[in-house]
């Protein structure tokens, strides 16, 4: 292609292009963003897959994530160790799933992971309470929070275990046409 970049090999860029929803230029741009988060830690040469992870605190300071109430959960959901330390691959993965062209199913899987605060593969009442408090910045009274959680579970729970499993969540998401446009971060 005549690109003079030395950050990735061509095969790596092809692999990124096939496995994510980004083109080559966007991957390079993402690497630039990743690099500027910690210029001393992130190498400019990724041809031999360096093992470099950035901590949660750096990533959630990005302007795209800074004001998002779910920023910690978003980064944790995509990190391998569950603590929020992202390598470049995970960084790309995160923004790929949150990009415009990602399909609804994929987004639903990760949205479920994000809203599942205690990582038990269910959205139980505590998860819902935490979600609500983050959404409304604790403006609702505890009774209202309780009521909303109960009604939500009542509406969406299909198999009657009083929690939302992934199947319930996905079923509910499929009825919401706005999910695709709201669950989207532009980078």
């Amino acid at each position: 292609m005549g690109n003079k970049q030395t950050i990735f090999t061509d095969e790596q860029l092809d692999a990124y292009q096939d496995c994510t929803f980004f083109t080559r230029k966007e991957i390079l741009r993402l690497h630039g963003r990743y690099h500027e988060l910690a210029p001393h830690l992130v190498p400019m040469d990724y041809t031999n897959d360096p093992d470099c992870k950035l901590p949660l605190a750096l990533i959630v300071n990005m302007p795209e994530l800074k004001e998002n109430p779910f920023r910690n959960r978003i980064v944790e959901a995509f990190s391998e160790d569950g603590m929020g330390n992202l390598s470049f691959n995970e960084f790309v993965d995160m923004f790929s799933v949150l990009s415009e062209t990602a399909p609804r199913e994929l987004k639903a899987i990760y949205a479920f992971k994000i809203y599942d605060f205690n990582v038990d593969n269910f959205l139980c009442k505590e998860d819902l309470e935490k979600t609500l408090n983050k959404l409304t910045k604790e403006e609702l009274t505890p009774e209202e929070v309780d009521l909303v959680c109960e009604k939500t579970i009542e509406e969406a729970d299909l198999d009657g275990d009083n929690k939302l499993s992934f199947a319930d969540f996905e079923n509910m998401i499929s009825r919401a046409p706005d999910f695709l446009s709201t669950f989207h971060i532009r980078i």
């Binding site: 230029k25 795209e64 899987i109 409304t136 403006e139 509406e155 299909l158 509910m172 532009r186």
Partner: protein
């Protein structure tokens, strides 16, 4: 006690085959029961720690369920303490105490492991690739199919306890991936919820395998060629995408707008971008096929050249009248590059293509035919693109069941992840809070009946508002009708006046129409405020329909004026005149939009900040602005026939509008406070762009081409009865040259000119639509049936588990109760000992 439950892996594998051996399922349950009934009494060799742990387990099994307590250390992921199946105290399951074995079974059920671990995902995608391969008819080998038990709808796999099975599954998956076509493979890879590193691993393995089969010469030469062409095509497509992305048309401004205002306001700017692309396409087509050839071969100008005054930019007349901008400039003959007679290029004007003594080897360009086909084909392609994007948008936003999980959707789908600015985020939180409270109020107190008197009052208010709106619309339409008539009569009379003044007076009608377009929506807003709708979406729909009604009636009366009155009036070159009118309307509309932005947003904000001392800034009215855009685009589509350069004007206008609106919104407006359903609104706007706007414009253009007599002194269709005859003549000429085509031509003329076939086509179309709507209805019914089935399955599950548990307890025998009591006492003693320390 923590024994690993080992299921037969074939059992829970989902596949397409029916259960081979149902007994296997029961057998495994027996196995579990057998295992647990062998529970030996604890020997004295147990350490206190272990005993304590065991005791805690047993005790908590018997204690009334408390939420979130007593997770044994390090066992959080394994032992799902399923306390509380429901808040219902009468539920028999609540009273049950789950043994750890039951809990282990529960936690390894397929529905609980989705997306949790890699093995499950790999099996799931193995099944999907298998289905895809079957659909694509590339037959998998028998060894890839495995024995499996229950079929399931989605093909969810199960979690394997051994890594062996996972490796096997992986191999199968790679095999499947390799056998898929490249685009399918890429799509599968992208959709997998695995990490990028693993996906590129899988991809690498699949490619490796492919290269191996290639290298070993197993591929046929034709498929190799196909393979290479597909690779080349993909590379080409990616380079094209990269190029488009590198253009980055307005990426940064769009990101800033979405960061501050969210997806709703963003959709307006994205709509501008869409319209821009349509106009660029039109401009390229008309520019390449009409403007460029004619500009290279200018006709002999009969009239004297007028000087440029500057007013022409507004009126489009004067200097521009006899230019390539308008219909009248275009030649009605075949353009030819003349042969060199005396060293120069002369343009020979030949009628009907007769040569004048020049040798051949010329380039011919039949201008009337080109004009006819260019307009026709560009409209056809625009129609296809519009219908395609409309159906795609509709498919995305159409949901069968709307009213069910409103609260859940509000909780999970209403946070706009694009919003980045702090104040906007705060406003969004407040909005969501308010909406949740409203929804709660609605859900709790459903019946809010009004008295008959209140209902009557509301009905009267609505009737009054509608009367005002319809009345004002009718009044404005009638006034435009008479004013345009007046202007037209004056035009014919006052031909001796100062030409500049005459030109300026032609601006009167556009100014009036734009003025009405500016004022009347404000009036509609006032009446909507008077009506005070409860639901904001109803209010939006009503406002859109009123504005639409206004614009459709205005455009209708204008079309009547141009195509009915002006065309028959005997003006020398009525098409150019209509083209100029459309140009004027477009320019005036742009100027008035600027004025509206200036007064409506900037001055209003200054006024409210300085004079009224409020912090509330004006809100950007998305629906109204989008309707303005659609109106402008309708004018552009109407005008392409008469003014081939009008798309260029529209492009310039849209570019300027984008930047002006963006700066105005960023400076003067605040984030919207009302909920805005983006995908629904986007679908509605694209539909409005297609149905009243494009269809209306194409109907007018078709009517013009079909029935109206072109003017006899200018334009490419001068001597014909209708513009359509240019196409007919060409077909006749082809027939003369080649007899075989006469059949085709006859068939074509028969089809087109007899209305019976049109009715037949329309009838078939309607029948197809009816069938599809019936299919949708049937699917709705199936969905409700499936939901019932899921609920029943849930009940079944609960029943089976409670039975399992009761059997397990029976097997353990009555000693357990005594043992349990002893354990409880011991534990309490121990705790008491700790506390006293």
């Amino acid at each position: 006690m923590a024994r690993n439950v080992n299921f037969d892996p074939h059992l829970m594998e989902a596949g397409m085959e029916s259960p081979l051996d149902e007994e296997d399922v029961h057998h495994s349950f027996n196995q579990i029961i057998a295992e647990n009934s062998q529970s030996v009494a604890p020997s004295e060799a147990f350490e206190l720690q272990q005993l304590q742990w065991e005791l805690t387990e047993e005790v908590e099994d018997s204690v009334h369920p408390l939420p979130g307590q007593g997770h044994a250390p390090g066992e959080e992921q394994q032992d799902q303490r399923d306390f509380g199946w429901g808040g219902d105290e009468t539920d028999p399951l609540i009273a049950n105490k789950w043994s750890s074995a039951t809990l282990r079974i529960l936690s390894s059920m397929p529905s609980r492991t989705i997306g949790r671990n890699r093995g499950a995902i790999i099996s799931q995608y193995y099944n999907r690739t298998m289905q895809l391969r079957r659909r694509r008819q590339s037959r998998p080998s028998i060894k890839d199919l495995s024995r499996s038990a229950r079929p399931s709808i989605r093909g969810y796999g199960n979690e394997e306890d051994t890594t062996d099975a996972e490796a096997r599954k992986r191999e199968h998956l790679v095999n499947n991936l390799q056998n898929l076509s490249v685009s399918d493979r890429v799509r599968m890879l992208r959709e997998m919820p695995l990490s990028v590193a693993e996906k590129s691993n899988l991809r690498g393995l699949a490619l490796q395998k492919e290269r191996q089969t290639q290298a070993s010469g197993q591929m046929h030469c034709c498929s190799r060629l196909k393979y290479y062409t597909i690779i080349a095509a993909r590379q080409g497509w990616y380079s094209w995408l990269s190029f488009l992305h590198s253009l980055q048309l307005w990426q940064v401004p769009l990101k800033r707008v979405s960061g501050r205002f969210g997806t709703g306001v963003l959709s307006y700017f994205v709509f501008i971008k869409t319209l821009l692309l349509f106009n660029v396409f039109l401009f390229l087509v008309t520019g390449a096929f009409l403007v460029l050839p004619q500009a290279l071969f200018p006709p002999d100008l009969s009239a004297d050249k007028r000087s440029f005054y500057g007013l022409e930019l507004l009126t489009g007349a004067g200097y521009f009248t006899d230019s390539v901008m308008y219909y009248g400039y275009y030649a009605n003959y075949t353009l030819q590059k003349s042969c060199r007679v005396d060293g120069g290029h002369h343009n020979t004007s030949l009628s009907n293509g007769t040569m004048r003594g020049c040798i051949s080897n010329h380039h011919h360009y039949n201008m009337p035919l080109a004009y006819f086909f260019t307009i026709g084909v560009s409209f056809f392609i625009t129609c296809i693109i519009l219908v395609y994007s409309m159906s795609k948008s509709f498919g995305r936003s159409f949901r069968i069941d709307k009213s069910h999980s409103v609260l859940a959707m509000k909780v999970f789908c209403s946070w706009d992840f694009k919003v980045v600015k702090e104040t906007s985020v705060k406003i969004m939180s407040e909005n969501i809070c308010t909406q949740l409270k409203e929804l709660l109020a609605e859900v709790s107190h459903k019946d809010d009946t009004k008295t008959a008197g209140q209902k009557l009052w509301r009905l009267m208010v609505h009737a009054l508002a509608w009367a005002i709106c319809i009345g004002s619309t009718t009044a404005s339409v009638v006034s435009i009708f008479y004013f345009s008539d007046n202007m037209h009569q004056n035009l014919k009379k006052r031909s001796h006046q100062d030409p500049l003044l005459k030109e300026a007076s032609m601006l009167a009608l556009p100014v009036l129409v734009s003025f009405i377009n500016l004022l009347l929506p404000g009036l509609f807003n006032l009446s909507a405020w008077m009506e005070d709708y409860e639901s904001p979406s109803v209010r939006t729909y009503v406002s859109i329909s009123r504005n639409l009604m206004l614009k459709v009636s205005i455009l209708g009366v204008l079309c009547y004026h141009w195509l009915g009155r002006v065309a028959d009036s005997g003006l020398t070159c009525w098409e150019s005149y209509v083209g100029q009118e459309l140009y004027r309307f477009l320019i005036m509309e742009f100027i008035f939009t600027l004025l509206d932005t200036l007064f409506g947003e900037l001055l209003w904000r200054l006024f409210s900040e300085r004079v009224l001392r409020r912090r509330r800034r004006p809100v950007f009215d998305i629906a109204r602005n989008v309707l303005e855009l659609i109106y402008g685009q309708t004018l552009a589509w109407l005008g392409v026939l008469f003014t081939p350069l009008l798309p260029a004007v529209q492009i310039l206008k849209l570019l300027l509008l984008f930047y002006i609106k963006k700066s105005s919104v960023m400076m003067n407006c605040q984030a919207p406070r009302k909920p805005y359903r983006v995908s629904q609104m986007t679908t509605i706007f694209i539909t409005l762009l297609c149905f009243p706007s494009f269809v209306g414009a194409s109907v007018c253009v078709t009517y013009t081409m079909w029935s109206i007599k072109p003017s006899s002194s200018c334009g490419p269709f001068r001597e014909l009865k209708t513009m359509f005859q240019a196409g007919k003549r060409w077909v006749e000429k082809l027939e003369e040259g080649n007899q075989n085509l006469s059949v085709l031509a006859n068939a074509y003329s028969y089809l087109v000119e007899h209305p019976f076939f049109l009715f037949l086509g329309a009838g078939i179309f309607l029948i197809v639509i009816y069938f599809h709507s019936q299919v949708v209805d049937g699917q709705r019914k199936i969905i409700s049936l499936l939901q019932e089935q899921i609920e029943n399955e849930g009940e079944d599950k609960k029943f089976l588990i409670s039975r399992l548990q009761s059997i397990h307890e029976q097997r353990r025998g009555p000693n357990r109760r005594q043992r349990r009591q002893v354990c409880v006492q011991l534990l309490q003693l121990k705790q008491g000992v700790i506390y006293t320390h």
